[in-house]
């Protein structure tokens, strides 16, 4: 059974239909990249899976539970899937360690010492154990994004959603973040990521989904999608990327 099951999902902003019936299943441990032009609906899809946007039609199931728009269901869902954002969104008034501790203590009611131990483990995991007491504005973009990953991991989610997590980074900082993601993938974490890093998608992902005008246009293993694109839209998109 798939961990995330997206069925006929439609989403409308005013009169514009951004998602026109999306079907996508993600198996446990699978690493899926969503690629496509800006405006193709890929970020919106990711935000729907986390309940940050409501859907107008269709259904999203995570680990067998239906996504419903009330507080209780949303909270249950968000404990299962973590999300990493393009702009990091660390809490600027809290140190890196506190950023990772906060939701454990507030949402899961984890005792402080346990939350702190977990925060240290997770920061170590992303190579930032020594930055426990640093504030977000004292960290580089790449470091901030790694703290954000640690923060999501500390909630022990079943899957991580990554929304263009390297797009706001200077080129030389992209690799340190991708290295962390690659490690997560190797450890068996389920990942659904919107990305513009084609080489990364090719190297790390099990499956690539090409979205075009609110639909899943083409999907397959990276070799196939990148090596033998079937539709002219994908060919054109990949051509523009090179």
């Amino acid at each position: 059974m798939s961990l995330i099951a997206i069925t006929e999902v439609r989403k409308r902003f005013g009169s514009v239909e951004v998602l026109k019936g999306i079907n996508l299943d993600v198996a446990r441990g699978e690493v899926v990249a969503i690629i496509g032009r800006s405006g193709s609906g890929k970020s919106t899809l990711l935000r729907c899976v986390n309940g940050l946007e409501s859907i107008d039609d269709g259904s999203i199931m995570v680990a067998g539970a239906q996504l419903l728009p009330d507080d209780l269901h949303l909270k249950a869902l968000r404990l299962k899937v973590g999300m990493i954002f393009q702009q990091f969104n660390l809490f600027p008034h809290l140190s890196a360690g506190r950023n990772v501790m906060l939701s454990q203590m507030v949402v899961k009611k984890t005792p402080k010492d346990e939350a702190e131990a977990m925060a240290r483990r997770m920061l170590d995991r992303v190579g930032l154990g020594h930055k426990f007491d640093a504030y977000p504005d004292q960290l580089s973009g790449g470091q901030q994004q790694r703290v954000a990953i640690a923060r999501a991991l500390a909630m022990q989610p079943m899957a991580l959603l990554c929304d263009e997590i390297t797009s706001a980074l200077d080129p030389e900082l992209v690799n340190e973040v991708l290295a962390v993601v690659k490690e997560l993938a190797a450890e068996g974490m389920t990942l659904l990521m919107v990305t513009h890093e084609m080489r990364f998608a090719r190297d790390v992902c099990d499956r690539v989904v090409f979205m075009h005008q609110g639909r899943v246009h083409e999907t397959g293993p990276p070799d196939e999608v990148f090596g033998r694109p079937r539709t002219p839209e994908l060919q054109q998109f990949l051509g523009a990327q090179l």
Binding site: L79, F85, F91, K108, A152
Partner: protein
């Protein structure tokens, strides 16, 4: 005819200035407490509360403070209730201050980046938890300078209560002028006392703004 020295004038004005200070403090603290309540209604999730707070703020902000004082002072009198000037002054200033502070603070909450809501949502936090741990601590930092700045308006606002007969600094100025026939000296001193009260507040607002801004960047 009796002669008044400048010291006589100043001494009487300073005695009355105590009431200006007291009224300012009462208005600011009372208005602050009521303002917090209004703020939570205004940004809360209850549609009725939001509408009420919005209406209240708009009403109080769009009518002159003087009219509010008159209504508080004379309005209840129509029903045979005798309202002393100090009560009408305190009540009207508290209600007025609350409206402005609630609106200032709402702006500060709005100023917190949308990503902060999204990140805390995605971590499973509920509305109250987000407010308490993520949004308000950041809004508070932004709120301090304009709040201190607004306290200057409150101090100056108390001058209007002289019109309904509350004897504070301005009213004392009028009384002393009537006795001394030295309006320029008296009102000059009154202005200087107001300045001595307000200038440190504006200045500290500026300093706080710079300090908190730097703190925001470097901690």
């Amino acid at each position: 005819m009796m002669e008044f020295s400048t010291w006589d004038i100043l001494r009487n004005l300073l005695l009355a200035a105590r009431w200006t200070v007291l009224l300012s403090l009462v208005s600011f603290v009372g208005g602050g407490l009521l303002g917090v309540a209004l703020l939570f209604l205004r940004i809360g999730r209850g549609a009725l509360g939001r509408r009420f707070a919005k209406g209240y703020i708009e009403l109080l902000q769009s009518t002159p403070l003087l009219m509010q004082l008159f209504l508080a002072f004379f309005g209840l009198g129509l029903f045979g209730i005798d309202v002393p000037a100090w009560l009408a002054a305190g009540a009207a200033l508290i209600l007025w201050t609350a409206a402005f502070l609630a609106e200032i603070w709402r702006g500060c909450v709005d100023a917190v980046a949308k990503g902060q809501w999204e990140a805390s949502s995605s971590l499973g936090m509920g509305y109250v938890q987000q407010m308490r741990h993520v949004i308000l601590p950041q809004a508070l930092r932004v709120a301090v300078p304009p709040t201190v700045g607004f306290s200057v308006q409150v101090v100056k606002g108390t001058a209007l209560t002289s019109i309904i007969g509350f004897v504070e600094l301005s009213k004392a100025g009028t009384v002393v002028t009537n006795a001394t026939f030295q309006p320029f000296t008296v009102y000059g001193l009154v202005a200087l006392i107001y300045f001595a009260l307000c200038w440190p507040l504006s200045k500290s607002s500026q300093i706080l703004e710079r300090k908190l801004h730097v703190a925001h960047r470097h901690h």
